[in-house]
């Protein structure tokens, strides 16, 4: 997933980096095809070049050697709301049919069965980044028909579109999973299967999604990670297996 997500980034782009796999994906892209990628962390580090894998988005290694460090009022108002962020990465406990994301509660808000961390910066990244990439492992629980709580908007919110609601960014253009890639239907905004990993089947993907998943007319096959990608991920970027599990 880290390699597939890294391929979503083009050299020279401005990326809002989250912790975990997105962080790994961004640093892999920087070490391979996108050396001029500009990494911005919501903690205020701009143009970070961390010398170790940051454990959190507030890691001190993001500061040392970066281009600028600013306060969070500047990050959210003068960079994100200003429209400077080209790509944002998002993840979540639940992702629904229209790419809406829930990171707030499982169950009802007032009496949740599981209390999740909440939005953090995700709501505004989903609204303002020019496009977002979502990363999550497939499962029925993670991909319900409709989220229990709408933390970060996707393409259709209670019947209303991003354009209806005046959102600046294009929303989730890719949902990278461990079996394939989902993309929004240009007409309806509904997520459809666009690409499969080698040796996975459409049925396997459908089994991990809580709505009748439609497929693009021609499905792409996702290229597996190259030897150099794997070497970088395992030996250089995450040698202690902080984020890589398989």
């Amino acid at each position: 997933m880290a390699t597939v997500a890294a391929r979503e980034l083009r050299d020279g782009e401005v990326v809002f980096v989250g912790i975990g796999l997105p962080n790994l994906a961004c640093n892999l892209a920087r070490a391979t095809h996108a050396p001029r990628l500009l990494l911005i962390y919501e903690s205020g580090a701009v143009g970070a070049e961390p010398e170790r894998l940051p454990v959190s988005i507030g890691d001190p290694s993001l500061v040392t050697g970066s281009l600028m460090v600013c306060g969070m009022a500047d990050v959210f108002q003068f960079l994100l709301q200003n429209g400077r962020i080209e790509v944002g990465f998002l993840g979540g406990a639940q992702i629904d049919r229209y790419g809406n994301i829930n990171t707030t509660v499982v169950g009802s808000y007032d009496a949740p069965t599981v209390r999740l961390p909440g939005s953090g910066g995700a709501a505004e990244i989903a609204i303002h980044a020019r496009r977002t990439v979502v990363i999550s492992r497939l499962s029925r629980r993670a991909f319900p028909d409709s989220v229990d709580f709408l933390t970060s908007p996707g393409h259709r919110m209670r019947g209303r579109t991003r354009a209806d609601l005046g959102m600046p960014g294009a929303g989730p253009v890719r949902v990278v999973t461990d079996k394939g890639i989902l993309e929004p239907d240009p007409e309806t905004g509904e997520l459809v299967l666009a690409a499969l990993y080698p040796s996975t089947t459409v049925d396997e993907v459908r089994a991990g999604v809580g709505w009748p998943l439609r497929c693009r007319e021609t499905l792409r096959e996702v290229e597996p990670p190259g030897d150099e990608d794997l070497r970088l991920l395992r030996d250089v970027l995450d040698p202690h297996g902080l984020y890589l599990r398989s």
Partner: protein, 293 residues
């Protein structure tokens, strides 16, 4: 620290201990727990381990926040028990990071609210009716609004200050400036007290002017297990180790008994941790600039 908390933090106060990953003042949180403050409204973007401990210790009536987790390591389980099992009950007022930042900007500017282009399509305004909207008088655009946050007391950790409270911070700045200037009372806690000439030699690095500060406390290692750039690294092992402690309320109580109630002050805490020298920062000193004219 004992005197500053005794004089400036009262039962029922709205309290902000800020710091985004960096410069979170655990020393102040522990002293508030030791002095058994009650019914506090605790506000922070990321409640982090310090508010998990304060919730477990019974200090909090309400939590105002935007992201409540233990980054990369798990959950804040005292917080989750309070919300999922009402053990004990905790009132929530929830925003996103941008919303919390905007609340402090309004507070620091002494305006009643702040506007932001946010929350459209989300369930956050339903969950929190204090997130509202306003129509722009120039363009007609409907913008989200959040109310000013003006804490009774804010605690800011920093690398250094002079005795008047002129405070210098480098590394991640979080919302330290906004939180301090929004607050009625301000406690600055520093790694080092320096002569005013050190401050005057590099005035651009002063984030909070002394005119806004009520007390300066000198407390080396006061942010541990958070960090202070140039002084010590984040204790990531502590954050990972918090998961099983926080998950078990008896273990959490045991932690508070040993490391908070069981020590008199920060220096005893550092001793109880077996010393923290392993976290001491390497040297990456910058060149400095010419302020001449």
């Amino acid at each position: 620290m004992r005197d500053a908390v005794a004089a400036l933090v009262r039962d029922g106060d709205t309290v902000v201990i800020e710091g985004f990953t960096h410069l979170i003042c655990f020393a102040a949180g522990h002293e508030i727990i030791r002095q058994r403050r009650r019914d506090l409204t605790l506000c922070r973007l990321t409640p982090d381990l310090i508010y998990d401990q304060m919730i477990a210790a019974g200090c909090a009536r309400k939590l105002v926040f935007s992201w409540a987790g233990n980054p990369g390591a798990g959950s804040l389980h005292a917080f989750r028990r309070a919300v999922e099992k009402r053990d004990p009950p905790l009132e929530l007022e929830e925003y996103s990071h941008f919303g919390m930042v905007a609340r402090l900007c309004a507070g620091a500017a002494r305006l009643p609210f702040w506007t932001l282009r946010d929350y459209m399509g989300t369930d956050l305004p339903t969950a929190n009716p204090r997130i509202r909207s306003v129509t722009c008088p120039y363009t007609g655009e409907v913008l989200a609004t959040v109310p000013a946050l003006n804490p009774d007391v804010t605690v800011v950790h920093a690398q250094r200050a002079d005795a008047q409270g002129n405070t210098q911070i480098w590394g991640l700045l979080g919302v330290q400036k906004e939180a301090a200037l929004a607050s009625r009372r301000v406690i600055v806690v520093v790694e080092e007290l320096v002569d005013q000439s050190v401050i005057r030699a590099d005035p651009n690095r002063t984030i909070i002017p002394g005119l806004a500060v009520d007390a300066v406390v000198v407390e080396p290692w006061g942010a541990h297990p958070s960090y202070a750039q140039g002084y010590y690294d984040r204790d990531n092992d502590f954050y990972v180790g918090w998961e099983p402690i926080s998950r078990d309320s008896a273990a959490l109580k045991g932690y508070l008994d040993e490391f908070v109630h069981g020590v008199r002050d920060r220096s005893e805490y550092v001793e109880r941790c077996g010393g923290l020298d392993r976290l001491r920062a390497a040297s990456r000193v910058c060149a400095g600039v010419n302020y001449g004219y």
